[in-house]
């Protein structure tokens, strides 16, 4: 049940797959690419506007977008036509564009203490990447990351793209408990664990910053999808004064 939409250059631009009773998955070429992701988010917004209350929810990831919809309210043919139109229009308006400039207000800085007491795996990461700990920190803090998706646990935001020098496969066996605020890396991605949870990524530091807030029973994630994120190295004293708590790993 899939359908390809061709771009003007004749290359497949997006694949539509009706993967569940009430869900259609749109997939773009598999890459971590800010311009493509911006296009995906634009499509998400436009599809929401065009379909209005027929859409139940939509979730964007690195190179894909899922639309949950009320399947009894629209036929396949009309949905296909609509999605095709939106994607092509957005693609044409986006094609020769560079990434929209992020304003300083939309960029978020995450303070990180990279000491061994917080970065449980920083030494092994250094060994495996043949770098010093200082170089690992330098590589991690030099990039401005893009927030590609929210998921896994509340407030968990997938950030990319990590420099190739730091890219490692996930740990062969995940930890049962990763501390709240752990800053971690895996493959092309980096993220902060918002709460204590199981996790298979390499922990290189810890932030005292909360990854979400709840006000009036409303949930707000600290990082929004599409936002720019930078990590800033702080000292142990600064970490503690910002309310950070060092947690020992029990092995």
């Amino acid at each position: 049940m899939s359908k390809n939409i061709k771009s003007t250059k004749g290359l497949p631009l997006v694949t539509l797959s009706y993967i569940s009773e009430n869900a259609v998955l749109l997939e773009w070429p598999e890459k971590v690419c800010a311009v493509q992701h911006q296009h995906i988010m634009h499509c998400q917004q436009q599809i929401g506007l065009a379909l209005k209350s027929t859409v139940i929810d939509s979730i964007a990831s690195y190179a894909s977008l899922i639309i949950y919809y009320k399947f009894d309210q629209i036929t396949h043919d009309s949905l296909n036509t609509l999605l095709l139109n939106v994607v092509q229009k957005s693609h044409l308006s986006n094609e020769n564009l560079t990434l929209s400039k992020q304003t300083s207000e939309t960029e978020i800085e995450i303070p990180v203490y990279y000491g061994e007491e917080a970065g449980w795996d920083i030494q092994t990461v250094a060994q495996q990447t043949q770098l010093t700990c200082a170089e690992v920190i330098q590589y991690h803090t030099q990039t401005t990351y893009r927030a590609y998706a929210l998921g896994f646990t509340p407030g968990f935001c997938y950030l990319g793209e990590l420099v190739p020098r730091l890219q490692l496969a996930r740990k062969s066996s995940p930890r049962l408990s990763v501390p709240k605020g752990a800053v971690a890396i895996a493959e092309q991605q980096t993220a902060v664990y918002p709460n204590t949870s199981p996790g298979g990524w390499h922990i290189i530091g810890q932030t005292p910053l909360d990854m979400y807030s709840v006000k009036n029973n409303e949930f707000e994630s600290t990082i929004s999808v599409g936002q720019s994120v930078k990590f800033v190295s702080i000292t142990q004293a600064e970490f503690l004064s910002l309310g950070g708590e060092l947690i020992k790993e029990y092995v």
Binding site: M1, S61, A149, G151, G155, Y158, E187
Partner: protein
């Protein structure tokens, strides 16, 4: 958006004994996945909708989902209840009552749930529904979020389950619903007919399954999978794929970037033991996906226990949509 409900402290059920699991559930937070929250919601929608239908409630009225029974309540006021799902041999005081029916409860009555012989989830609905704090526009509770203090507090011994003030249904009402029930032939035993045998999980295939030769597809669909003990409201873990197709599957191209996953998605981790994603699934996943089990079959799967057997059978999207529409129409 998320309103705190008005408290009616004079009308409630008190949990006086609890051994199994019990949570407040409605149809879930269907529009909160973009925030990274699982859709959540009731495991067995058939039994849930059946109970609300018996009482003339809204389809989405919150109920108690009782897993493996073993819970006792005391009613503060008269009320009408309905019990559906796994049969827990329920008693009101000393009188055994029937499953899949509405019952009248009087103030100070004791409602006692035993352990079900088969099935997992039992639903206790009350006319008018349960009142509790909403989270993400839903009353559904999840165990992971309870720990983070989102939504209503977890149910423990001593908890008071608050009800609407007017939850007494007249006898005429009950006769009326019984009449409709008979006319429409709502027969739960037909819905769950093959639960004792192997449950056939019909699924909408994805490229990973379609990449197998037709012989290999047949092999996979002839295979009996056993439900593993690690299964829960998040996912059902199954035993290993048949040996003969593992090499082919391993060599098929697979995506590397995480993407959104649906209810019923059959994930295939590198240990070749499929996981069928259930109501408390994550929103995004990185494992390759064979296809998605149709939703009307997932309401049967969630009632199965570790050790039970399942088998896969490919179907079409149209069939899946027809089945789901038909299920919802029964309770309209």
């Amino acid at each position: 958006m998320n309103k705190r409900v008005k408290h009616n402290t004079d009308n409630y059920l008190t949990v006086i004994k609890k051994n199994g699991l019990c949570s407040i559930q409605d149809l879930g937070r269907l529009s909160s996945q973009h925030l990274g929250f699982s859709a959540g919601g009731v495991a067995d929608e058939y039994a849930f909708l059946f109970a609300n239908y018996l009482l003339g409630n809204d389809q989405n009225s919150a109920q108690l989902e009782i897993t493996l029974g073993q819970i006792t309540f005391k009613a503060a006021q008269d009320c009408t209840i309905a019990i559906t799902g796994a049969d827990c041999s329920v008693y009101i005081n000393d009188n055994p009552i029937k499953n899949w029916q509405a019952h009248q409860v009087s103030a100070n009555d004791i409602i006692r749930f035993g352990q079900p012989k088969e099935g997992l989830h039992t639903y206790l609905a009350i006319t008018g529904g349960i009142q509790s704090q909403q989270w993400l526009n839903s009353q559904s509770q999840t165990s992971t979020e309870n720990r983070l203090s989102f939504g209503a507090t977890a149910i423990v011994e001593g908890s008071k389950i608050e009800l609407l003030n007017t939850c007494f249904a007249s006898k005429e009402h009950n006769q009326h619903t019984a009449h409709i029930n008979y006319k429409r032939q709502l027969t739960p035993s037909l819905f769950y007919n093959n639960i004792q045998e192997t449950l056939i999980l019909r699924f909408i295939p994805q490229p990973l399954f379609l990449g197998l030769s037709s012989k290999e597809q047949d092999l996979l669909c002839a295979h009996l999978f056993t439900i593993s003990s690690d299964s829960n409201r998040m996912g059902y873990r199954l035993s290993t794929l048949p040996e003969k197709i593992i090499t082919t599957i391993t060599n098929l191209p697979k995506p590397t970037l995480s993407k959104p996953v649906t209810f019923g998605a059959i994930q295939l981790p590198s240990n070749n033991q499929p996981i069928v994603l259930m109501k408390e699934r994550q929103t995004i996943g990185g494992y390759p996906v064979l296809g998605a089990v149709i939703q009307s079959d997932l309401f049967k799967l969630c009632q199965l226990r570790p050790g039970n057997k399942v088998q896969f059978m490919p179907t079409t999207l149209n069939f899946a949509q027809q089945q789901l529409s038909a299920l919802y129409q029964k309770f309209n």
